[in-house]
Symmetry: C2
Subunit: 662 residues, 2 copies
């Protein structure tokens, strides 16, 4: 059992505790009231459990939110953001009262739902229910992974808990179910969730739609489940002690609470969920708990004093960890250096250099090239880690002894991957068929919103997958990923561009965003003309010999497996005396980041006759090409080449289309 | 208890049963072998349970797959398609042996995964795991709904079961978890799933990632759970009898099976999951079960004879039902007529006429208009039914006593909705915030692939939702829905166009496809110039007075709430002497279906200076407009009007942008 699990809960006087709870309730009511918008019920109902956790258990340093070994706190029920902002403010994070008073206002530090990177101390962006739950599993997984690699006897530099508050709504979401089953299987003993079980959702009581036995369900997943009165601080503390002591199972502590606890009329009603309580009810609630009506946003001086002392004590804990780390550095200098480098999100020396090169003239599926690249990176990057939703071999991802078997749980995987990235120190990859990016989209979007440097590998990227048919053939997914802000989508034309795709992805950092790499099931030739370095996003693959740009008859712009088709078509057109350039455009976003001169060099504005060639929907290609050779329908079940031929993905069909252009 | 639950299982001689099982295994092996692609393991492992269900329990009429009161069969593990094709062929559906021999070939009736509407007797398109499970819940819900409305004492015209075969992979998926919890809550006693529990997934054993106690989990959901040896036909039959007798709980029968049961070397291994067994192993398997090696695709004559008799007996059951229905018609002519009309997917008389009109000059959020429209339709259409993922009031959907409380389960909801539509007789609607269309996308796509006339209502359709911030503000969702083939996306500009949106949606039938209707949180003016009839998809809302089309300076094309902004901008430009038309384009797909002359009338090719105005990503708008006023970033948390102003969604900002166009 780690030191943190064994530490006694910090003592708290009952008066102080009561004051803390009342203060949180007051801030939540006043914040929502002033904003005329928000969710007062959850912070009031969860104030007891949150105060217990933060005052007595949570190990963190409000003066330095980046301390690597802090406990993580995930507010999965992100709509209760005023609870988190209150805790952060009271604990002494750099979140002044003026920001709480600007709750839900433009450019405040207190947006409607918590946003990581925006507010000091917020670990994760939450709001879409269930996604925080899944990410918390990723935090706990990352902690264990790093502990296994870096801890040495007498040097436990990684030893923290991941706590969270989850709601009825979280537990109804499938993404949480998937992650819960995974966490139970993985025996993530340092994951502890407080379940705010208040029987209320937006539409009314949970009796309308949620009557399952949640505790029994989580026991079936392999969790340690306890049930307590969520307004009994002693019981909550006792349950937290037991949860920390349980090493082999993640813990769910079901806290039976009353939403908007303390509001005389609206407590226990859905009316308190997502709207201000109203002036009268706020006043009545303050009177009932013997709290001053004025000033609003009231924090008693005595509480401030006490919390300042606690902040100082937490800083001491942090300093002790720093001293421990220095002893570790003395004993294990190489490991310590590596740990720090990875914490900064940097790549170990030699990572990019390890990416293999592929010789032209051979033929290899880009998913197989992907597998070789991942395997090579894994050898030099100790926390390059990931897995697949039960399609490891198909997807071309194999992380050896670090491989994560996610099971058939795409959305849970994406949520967990976000948690891995948010924890820091690890560089995560997830993978499935491109078609199932649809299943991951909730958490995929969050990886983009949070600008996490996650790598999403999507294999079987087109109708060329063949026999599995339209249910498995992506058609609209490729373009639909391009629509997501901050996400870079790379669809390499061959093995060389696949190596390049990983280079692009690895060079993106926290604050840039995720990268999706789309690879084929089928073999593709490795071209003479492709590049390992595709940081420019698009480039001229082939020009008809001796033809100046201004004399071109047109341009074919293709991605992925269709580059080979476009190339062949251009050569046939050349034989007919039509001089058509071929542009490979593996990454639109990278091309858009190039300067205009380069863009005009690749796609000269004077050459208006351009046609895209991509086995996906045409909508969107109008951005680059007046004409499109695409697929505005679902696919067919047949061998890949037969499907491609039937749907017009041959060089002949492209030539024919070109000849018919107006 | 209904008659069908009480009926004794049909008797079967053990020799015949064994022959049936061997035949299925042989067909599955040969089909996959000939196709050189497919999944032999599942059909072989599930042959015993499937044969038991189909020979002894399933009530259907292979001569008429459209019999409304047939039992429904959902092969959620759609990769086991050769099992279903074998069953359909042997039962006497119009699926000749030649089609089984063309498994996974272009345009065969036996695609890689089952496709409804393509193969007689296939009830649903499956393959993406978990989605069939969810849809089965919808089938069972529809059965109960129709039974409640149409059955009368002595006239049980609706009384069937929904059976399914589900796999380990299905039960790992969150969409199935959501639907299972819903089904338990709803006490859907006529839903019976056989769980093919074989401990094998693609990556290897379920021990890699799936060690939860599935039975205990389903009991926690409120299901009736039994566990049997999946190769013991007697035990399976006994469990099915008990499952049918259980009226108040859906049933899960965990059948412990061996994947590729009967294959000497590959049984029990993941190698048999998704690839042909190979010639040697097929021959060894046939030898082991004393089966002729040749001919392949062997069906013994004795089995054919017996199955023909069984087919005839099933036809008699169907005829008895027809006679029952005629007695019902005599007793309840109006109900019988209504039942038949709804079965054909037609609208009850007066449905379209019931859609309310909205007077110009008022202001109303389109979600509120949506609520009025739904409420009005519900009054005349007895099985217009649906609900929301815990956001009924927010979304503007209320189906009165038919309202379905889905809980916070967006993906499960979409899957169940597909089942409601597939069952027939009901016209389903689901609803959530537009942002959570991301969570539904797996099943949303299937509604489009199956061309189901589902209505998806998505409210809070832009950054105007305000304070909830970027996690809740859709930016890329609108365009990403437009990418899905067969799905029509309607974003009405005001209450009148909202009425029109429902008209468009209701006129779409099975075979057309689903419709997404996107509505606002915020109030919008009801214009003089908008239309109730938006079947043209786009139209000229306003032209500067006295200006001929050829003299226009340009066109602003807008959708939804941005129409008001574009209109105001055009008027301001007119004051400056710039003559700009305003086009409202609520539905791209409908506009694309219009003839070229109409399209050119609305968007004259001669007027090249066009700018879109839509609070979403610009990618895609290049199709209609050379210039775009959009939002290629995530939103902000603040009151809606403040967000809009900060991000350039005001008439002033549009005017300024227009003036800067090259």
């Amino acid at each position: 059992m780690g030191a943190r699990a064994e530490a006694a809960p910090r003592p708290v006087e009952s008066d102080l505790f009561a004051t803390m709870v009342k203060t949180i309730k007051g801030l939540a009511m006043d914040g929502v009231e002033k904003a005329k918008s928000g969710h007062p019920g959850m912070p009031m109902g969860a104030a007891d459990m949150a105060a217990t956790l933060w005052l007595r258990f949570l190990v963190h340093d409000p003066a330095d939110p980046s301390w690597p070994d802090r406990d993580r706190f995930v507010l999965s029920a992100g709509h209760g953001s005023m609870l988190l902002y209150s805790l952060l403010h009271l604990s002494g994070y750099d979140l002044p009262m003026a920001e709480l008073q600007r709750f839900r206002k433009l450019h405040s530090k207190t947006p409607g739902h918590p946003e990581v990177g925006h507010t000091p101390g917020v670990e994760i962006t939450t709001g879409p229910l269930g996604t925080g739950f899944a990410a918390g599993v990723g935090f706990a997984y990352a902690e264990r992974l790093l502990a296994q690699r870096y801890n040495r006897a007498g040097h436990e530099i990684v030893d923290h808990f991941t706590y969270g508050i989850v709601s009825d709504g979280d537990l109804m979401e499938g993404v949480a179910s998937e992650a819960a089953s995974f966490a139970g299987h993985q025996k993530l003993g340092k994951l502890v969730y407080l379940y705010d079980s208040n029987d209320i959702t937006i539409d009314g009581g949970t009796a309308l739609a949620f009557t399952e036995n949640v505790g029994a369900r989580f026991e079936a997943y392999g969790w340690h489940v306890q049930k307590v009165d969520g307004h009994d601080a002693g019981a909550i503390a006792k349950a937290l002690v037991a949860a920390r002591a349980e090493q082999a199972r993640p813990s769910l502590i079901e806290c039976r609470t009353i939403i908007a606890h303390g509001a005389p009329k609206k407590a226990g009603t859905s009316a308190s969920h997502g709207a201000p309580l109203g002036k009268d009810e706020v006043e009545a609630a303050k009177r009932a708990m013997d709290w001053p009506l004025e000033p609003t946003f009231y924090v008693p001086d005595a509480l401030r004093t006490e919390l300042a002392q606690r902040k100082a004590a937490l800083a001491v804990e942090h300093r002790e960890w720093v001293a421990r780390f220095e002893r570790y550095r003395a004993a294990e200098p190489a490991l310590a250096q590596e740990f720090e480098l990875l914490r900064r999100g940097e790549l170990p020396k030699g990572t990019l250099e390890a990416i293999p090169t592929f010789a032209p003239g051979t033929a290899i599926a880009t998913r197989k090239a992907c597998a070789k690249v991942i395997s090579a990176i894994t050898k030099v990057h100790p926390t390059f880690v990931g897995g697949s939703a039960d399609l490891a071999e198909s997807n071309g991802v194999d992380f050896g002894d670090r491989h994560i078997h996610y099971g058939v749980r795409e959305h849970g995987m994406a949520g967990i991957t976000n948690g891995l990235a948010l924890h820091g120190g690890v560089r995560p990859v997830d993978a499935t068929f491109l078609i199932f990016s649809d299943f991951m989209r909730g958490c995929l979007r969050l990886s983009a919103l949070m600008r996490l440097p996650v790598i999403h590998v999507f294999s079987h990227d087109s109708i060329w997958l063949g026999e599995d048919g339209p249910t498995h053939q992506p058609v609209e997914q490729l373009m639909s990923l391009r629509l997501i802000p901050n996400l870079w989508v790379v669809r390499p034309a061959d093995a060389r561009e696949t190596a390049g795709a990983f280079r692009v992805a690895l060079e993106r950092k926290l604050g840039d965003g995720p990268t999706a790499i789309l690879v084929t099931r089928q073999n593709l030739p490795v071209f003479e003309e492709t590049r390992d370095d595709i940081g420019v996003g698009a480039y001229t693959l082939w020009d008809p010999p001796g033809v100046a740009a201004k004399d071109l008859d047109g341009i074919l712009v293709a991605t992925g497996s269709e580059v080979a088709i476009a190339y062949e078509a251009a050569k046939r057109l050349h034989e007919r005396g039509l001089e058509v350039r071929v542009v490979s455009m593996p990454c639109w976003e990278a091309f858009e980041a190039c300067d205009r001169a380069y863009q005009d060099d690749v796609l000269p504005p004077s050459v208006g006759r351009r046609m895209s060639v991509e086995a996906g929907v045409t909508l969107g290609w109008q951005r680059w090409c007046a004409h499109q050779h695409g697929l505005d329908r679902f696919g067919e079940s047949a061998p890949g080449a037969d499907v491609a031929k039937a749907l017009g993905f041959t060089a002949d069909a492209v030539v024919e289309h070109w000849l018919q252009l107006p």
